[in-house]
């Protein structure tokens, strides 16, 4: 099982993500944004949190057009797994790999705290270890996490079971309390919260660990 974690100038959760991938059993390589290809045999790509390119223009906008983004898009088109927390989610929406966009938090403040998430769909590799409706505690740390999309898109995401997680108490104004969104084949997950920051006993919270274990399990089964 091979994973790659993309690294952009300004990424700051890349190592946390690699630690979580490795703990789940993935052989993990870091891939610099100037690369035009992923390591051969990559099963899973992590698009980490942080402030890629200083959030210039729009969060994730420049990263979504960087050399490695084309390789990321090909990986997604081939049916590869992608896990993208926080800035990663912003990058995937900018790249058109997930629908919608992330706006400035409705309260205008950067929010850094642990929030409750309700697991809404358990048919993806990421979410199948959880119970449907289960509430897990996962940290958020963002300024632009206010998920928005047109009404038709929101209805489609709800109808197709593509909302992976909803906030129990929405901190950022997100439409329909949406915290995480899956691609139509459910192999690409973007979410604002950070499960990789709640996946080791030393974090004081391991509610996120099952997500990585679930990914490893799905890939072993392939």
């Amino acid at each position: 099982m091979k994973a790659a974690v993309l690294v952009f100038p300004g990424s700051n959760c890349d190592r946390d993500l690699a630690v979580a991938f490795r703990a789940a059993g993935f052989q993990t390589e870091m891939v610099w944004h100037k690369e035009t290809a992923l390591p051969p045999g990559t099963d899973l790509v992590g698009v980490p949190g942080g402030f890629s390119y200083g959030d210039y223009l729009r969060c994730g906008a420049i990263a979504a057009r960087s050399p490695v983004a084309a390789a990321l898009r090909n990986h997604g088109d081939r049916g590869g797994y992608v896990f993208a927390p926080c800035n990663g989610f912003q990058i995937l929406t900018e790249a058109g790999m997930l629908p919608g966009a992330l706006l400035r938090n409705a309260g205008l403040k950067y929010i850094c705290k642990t929030v409750g998430l309700r697991v809404e769909d358990t048919e993806s590799a990421f979410t199948q270890p959880y119970e449907k409706g289960q509430v897990i505690d996962i940290p958020i740390a963002h300024h632009e996490g206010n998920y928005t999309a047109d009404a038709e898109t929101i209805a489609r995401l709800n109808g197709e079971g593509r909302v992976a997680f909803r906030y129990v108490n929405t901190p950022n104004g997100a439409t329909d309390d949406i915290a995480g969104v899956l691609s139509s084949n459910k192999r690409v997950l973007g979410m604002m919260p950070h499960p990789e920051r709640a996946s080791d006993p030393a974090h004081g919270n391991t509610d996120g660990a099952a997500l990585f274990a679930g990914l490893a399990q799905a890939l072993v089964a392939v």
Binding site: L57, A61, A101, A106, L108, T148, A149
Partner: protein, 75 residues
């Protein structure tokens, strides 16, 4: 040759920054400000012969996120 691209959040997309500016203007005693929308102005220095169509492609490809933003080009 210069082009100016104005990027604004689409109508109907909540602009919390604009709202905060509106509140602050009210707090300063400026009454009658019924709405504030905040956007971006991007100036492009272009080689002669660059067409508006090319600038439009730049807007669609990078300068605006058309999911949430609209743009206006002045050449």
């Amino acid at each position: 040759m210069k082009a100016q691209v104005t990027v604004m959040l689409k109508d109907g997309v909540l602009d919390p920054q604009g709202e905060a500016v509106r509140h602050a203007l009210g707090a300063l005693g400026f009454s009658g400000v019924e709405g504030v929308r905040q956007g971006k102005l991007i100036e492009l220095d272009l080689a002669p012969g660059t067409t508006e169509d090319q600038v439009r492609s730049m807007c669609e490809g990078l300068l605006a996120n058309t999911v949430i933003e609209s743009y206006r080009i002045e050449m």
